[in-house]
Symmetry: C2
Subunit: 714 residues, 2 copies
């Protein structure tokens, strides 16, 4: 029995299998080769080149040694409990190899082969066999169709890319080329480098959520950079993000946001498409810092990994040595919604003393030539700025570091000293710094000092501002972490209901049972009863027919408005006649009688069961412009009041809540609590596949759905 093989390292056997796989302290290369052109040779070579200091076991049925390592002839001959297997075998051989790995206690494998589901129908059978082997063996699998995995710190280079700089950013992606992009971007940026890379390929077993959690657990990870073309289980990603991001920043670049992009993504990773608007909103809700541009992933992850966030409530100071850059930075921050600090009088007075009359000492501060001959003035200014009560971060823009290039080589020493001073000032004050310099692309000593001290120096104002924006948002999120949802779904509650469209009384009762006020209403069983109900309500009412056969009530004439006690009986009877003339076989189950809604802001509230992220609530502007305006945003349920308030703020509708034109002002807290309750309902009722409250009329502290529509799934 192979379980009788000697145990390699008993201390590792109790660890989490994925942790062992992602930071392996022994590796078997299955499909090792003596041919330097083959991946099974190059992989061993790459491990040696990267200085991997743990055991490597080449597995090959015929060879004796490969690159001076003794070869094991079969998987089952390996010592028990190697941490990771790199499987460089063709697709057909993979399932058996996984089963054999299990027999010798290998907890995880990286499967390089392609020819699985990413090839469509052709690979479907291979995929099915692979999934079977994964389930039976219990071996955790990264891939297939992956470029591999990399742990820079330990030298576990299972991707074969040399020269990846060691640093704090851990990458998870489905695209091997994105690793190349990120490494090259980091090189161009002279960024902080990388700790780990996981190429998930087809995500047939190990997925994003587990990698996020596992990589964030590794102490070397300062930030996780994700590139994804589609999540298999979006809800698991949300809960992983919600749990991780309060301590470890996660930056996400999504491919396949557009329709054509989704088609492209589908064709090469077999990923599932979904609504971009939903994904954007719920991933952000869960704490991911989303970047829309591929050239931002490296710089934002690098900055978040090395730079502390602005404390909530603090603002940004810009220090520049020329107006052009200061103005552009101020514009870009304004676009991003990041506020500039209003500098205190004392701060401005101190800056004036340091900089003279030509300078601008409000924020943005423009030294206006005062540093051309003496760059140390920069340190003086920053020393002053960090004492200002509003300042939470100083962004230096312009030429800093390049004065000795532009003006006089003799300034180099002063710039180096200033860089060191800046690090000290930042550390002592706990105020982060970020530097944009035209000279960032050159390899200047003083920029090196800053970078080594964790202050990023970039050449693009836009990148700098994007990074500041991420730090600003992160400060807010950290401060409010306890007020946010874990995004875990509660256990389902309530009895199972029959699938289909609920009739309006049923939908209203479902809402009421969940604590949502749908206003007074009566179910009348005849025109006479309806007239009595109108009289009872004492105000003009709306009457709606209830009939399982009448799906579109308005189209069938089944809705009448402004019905008074005087004309109720007659109009109700006429309504039923009209309905029956439209739908002759309609069985009339009754008439819903509700008082006409008061004037208020017309809002749209809805919920769906998103195929990727599960229950999601929608909110936006209701009324006639719904489709043209498409003012709608989303939150994954369940969510908190804070999250509901943020949701409201994202919409055009929010501009109509504070007494817009002649409409009454709306209590945002009440509206938020209403949304929270809707979220709770759909989170705990997995049967609700669609919920429409449209319109909801909001006025003061009243938030009243006029119509309620619920579709239940099995």
């Amino acid at each position: 029995m192979t379980t009788a093989n000697p145990v390699l390292d008993p201390a590792r056997q109790d660890l989490d299998p994925l942790d062992r796989l992602l930071d392996p302290q022994s590796i078997a290369v299955i499909g090792a080769s003596t041919n330097p052109a083959k991946r099974g040779y190059q992989a061993i070579r790459a491990l040696q080149d990267a200085g991997y200091a743990h055991p490597v076991f080449p597995v090959n049925p015929t060879a004796d040694t490969i690159l001076d390592l003794p070869v094991t002839s079969a998987i089952t001959d390996l010592p028990y409990g190697v941490d990771a297997a790199l499987i460089a075998l063709p697709a057909a051989a993979v399932p058996d190899a996984l089963r054999e790995c299990a027999r010798v206690g290998i907890p995880g494998a990286i499967v390089l082969a392609n020819g699985f589901k990413e090839t469509g129908d052709r690979g479907a059978e291979a995929e099915a066999r692979l999934l079977e082997a994964i389930a039976e063996s219990g071996v955790r699998v990264i891939g297939p169709n992956t470029s591999g995995m990399l742990n820079v710190s330990s030298g576990a280079n299972l991707v074969g890319l040399p020269g990846v700089p060691d640093g704090p950013v851990s990458i998870v992606t489905q695209s091997g080329n994105m690793l190349l992009s990120l490494v090259n971007d980091d090189r161009q940026l002279k960024g902080p480098g990388f700790h780990a890379y996981v190429g998930l390929g087809n995500q047939s077993d190990v997925r994003y959520d587990e990698c996020i959690t596992a990589l964030a657990r590794q102490p070397e990870t300062g930030a996780v950079a994700l590139h994804s073309e589609g999540f298999v289980d979006g809800r698991a990603v949300l809960t992983a993000l919600a749990a991780t991001t309060p301590t470890t920043p996660v930056v996400l670049l999504r491919g396949g946001r557009s329709e054509i992009g989704q088609r492209t993504a589908l064709s090469h990773t077999g990923s599932i498409a979904g609504s971009d608007a939903v994904a954007t909103a719920v991933l952000r809700q869960a704490g991911a810092e989303l970047v829309d541009r591929s050239d931002e992933l490296a710089v934002i992850a690098g900055t978040l990994a090395t730079t502390t966030a602005l404390p909530a409530g603090k603002k940004v100071a810009i220090l520049s040595d020329g107006g052009g850059h200061a103005t552009l930075a101020a514009d870009a921050l304004a676009d991003a919604g990041v506020p500039l600090a209003e500098l205190a009088d004392e701060t401005q007075a101190a800056l004036r003393r340091e900089l003279g009359t030509a300078a601008a000492v409000h924020n943005p501060v423009d030294v206006a030539g005062a540093t051309d001959a003496d760059p140390t003035v920069f340190a003086d200014c920053v020393r002053t700025l960090v004492t200002d009560p509003e300042v939470g971060l100083v962004l230096i823009v312009g030429l800093f570091g390049g004065y000795h290039v532009r003006f006089d080589p003799r300034l180099a020493d002063a710039e180096d000293a200033t860089a060191r001073d800046l690090l000290t000032i930042s550390a002592d004050s706990d105020i982060p710094l970020l530097v944009q310099s035209c000279y960032a692309a050159e390899d200047l000593v003083n920029h090196g000092v800053l970078r080594a001290g964790g202050v990023q120096v970039v050449s693009s104002i836009d990148h700098a501002v994007r990074a500041v924006t991420a730090l600003y948002r992160r400060g807010h999120r950290i401060a409010s972490a306890s007020e946010r949802s874990t995004l875990a779904l509660p256990a389902p509650t309530g009895p199972t209901l029959p699938a289909g469209v609920l009739d309006e009384p049923g939908a209203r009762r479902l809402m009421e049972a969940a604590g949502i006020d749908v206003g007074p209403w009566t179910l009348a069983d005849s025109p006479e009863a309806a007239a009595a109900a109108v009289a009872d309500h004492g105000v003009p009412c709306a009457l709606k027919v209830v009939s399982a056969q009448v799906l579109h009530k308005s189209d069938a004439g089944g809705v009448i408005l402004n019905v008074t006690a005087d004309d109720a009986r007659e109009r109700a009877a006429a309504m039923l006649d009209t309905v029956l003339s439209h739908v002759p076989d309609a069985v009339i189950d009754g008439i819903v009688v509700t008082p006409m809604a008061d004037r208020g802001v017309e809002l749209l509230v809805g919920a769906t069961h998103d195929p990727i992220y599960g229950p999601v609530v929608a909110f936006g502007t209701g009324g006639v412009l719904v489709e043209a305006l498409a003012d709608v945003t989303f939150r994954a349920a369940p969510f908190t009041e804070l999250e509901a308030l943020e949701m409201i703020d994202e919409t055009v509708a929010s501009r109509m809540l504070d007494g817009y034109r002649n409409l009454p002002a709306v209590d945002r807290g009440e509206l938020a609590r209403f949304l929270v309750r809707v979220g709770d309902i759909v989170a705990s009722n997995p049967q609700i596949s669609e919920l429409d409250l449209n319109p909801v009329i909001a006025s003061g502290a009243t938030v009243l759905p006029v119509d309620v529509r619920v579709i239940l799934s099995e």
Copy 2:
């Protein structure tokens, strides 16, 4: 008399003064210095270092030679007709120097000094004296408060920045630091380099419009890159852009778009602020390619200067060697509204033969490993793609050029050959190429081949897509150039009217005189006459009071709706009573009677006299959501029907024109012609400072203003 001085070069004397200044073939350095720390020394040194091959005349009252050049002791001793003077004197000495320049036939000067209007009140007097000297002398002045000017091709380096690479981009900016940024960006990008730079500083004389025109005239200019914090005469910029951009691309980065940015800009260049939304719309209308990010100016200008635009109607093909980049590029193009070509069956079949079964041969084309061992396949694919009838540009994304770095050094020769092939294919087919490569930042031979052949190679997908977007838009604009406005204002027409708010009959008559149908209306002088008018119209009417004392008719009860012949007299009389109770001293000039508007789409049409750009028309969604939605766009008047149609397309309102919900469809051509007429009115009536047609009800071919409001200035 100084005019008796010998004439330096008679052939130059008849040329345009600004052309001489921007491409000087002789230079006087006024304030030349023997002190190497002074600008008056460095300037001469910079000219010598740049290999300036024309005469340089240092002017200094005491020195004999500076840097081996003989010194002229006074401006008036210079030979007659030196092309340009660099004035390196303090502010106070500048006015006299300009007058002396005029006496010796110097047509233009660059004034470096600061201390003018950019310092606010302190510099106001200096500015006034400068303007006087400019007016008296007729010398064209660049500056003051400028870093200078540069003509790379001739070596006329009057800015003192060494090593600016020679190429096709000409820069105009107010910020010297932007030149540094652009030069460093170009260096990082390995971009095509620069022809000229003009630092306008305070724009006290020479402004953007003249520079755009003059630089575009220089044959070395392939594109003009502008950075501006505010135009002094925006209309002149618009007409210059409209005249220039059909032949020479102009790319514009605006600083001071945000409120805080405007304040910052104001503080250091004394620029005028204006509405960002107006500026964005009208500058784009005039043909400028606007970039919002400072890191885009160099790359977009460089690409437009070297790459032909896509012919109108053609689309983009993406060729990638990995899904990740292809998806991101497809997403970004979709965001930008640039369509991907639908490849013909034959194209796809040919690609399939070249690439094998694993590749994706629809667009984006993914070679999926087919090129890893043989990069020449790229050329085969491009050769196929350029034959496709829909393809107007091929964007290559991924690793191209770096295969020999990533996979095997022996691939270098094949990559070099492929680069040469790509140039040939592009030239022969007249289909432009653009390359994004992870390896663009490295100095690879094959990338050098592409760049030297005018094919840009960039490392950011986002930059590549932004450049493709600019080329796509440019193709459309070139094709439609003849259908666009010159943006020149026509001579004012019509009699001068008294300033103030026109009453409604006056406003209606003004519109009618200009050919705008405001629908049937009657001015009644009594409730009885109003009743007769309602009866004449034969439909329910709206009645509005006319009184110079009643500015807000609705608030004063001066508007009543749905008035019928039966109740007209009584309701009109009551309305007048109400008005008089609100405004006791109101003189009633009459009652405007109009039929109630038909159902239709509620639109907003307006016009203002913008302080920077002159008459501008606004269009967007009307009705209750006007302020919340703020759906409004602008065009400078006069404009064409094509421009009006484009204007309509930019709005949310456009989504309601094709039979939205139960509203009638609107004839876009009629709506466009209506907007053109409004534009014509305000363009030829400089007295109209405000025009409001709100709402305008559009339905089918009917476009009817419900209310007309006009404010006239002196």
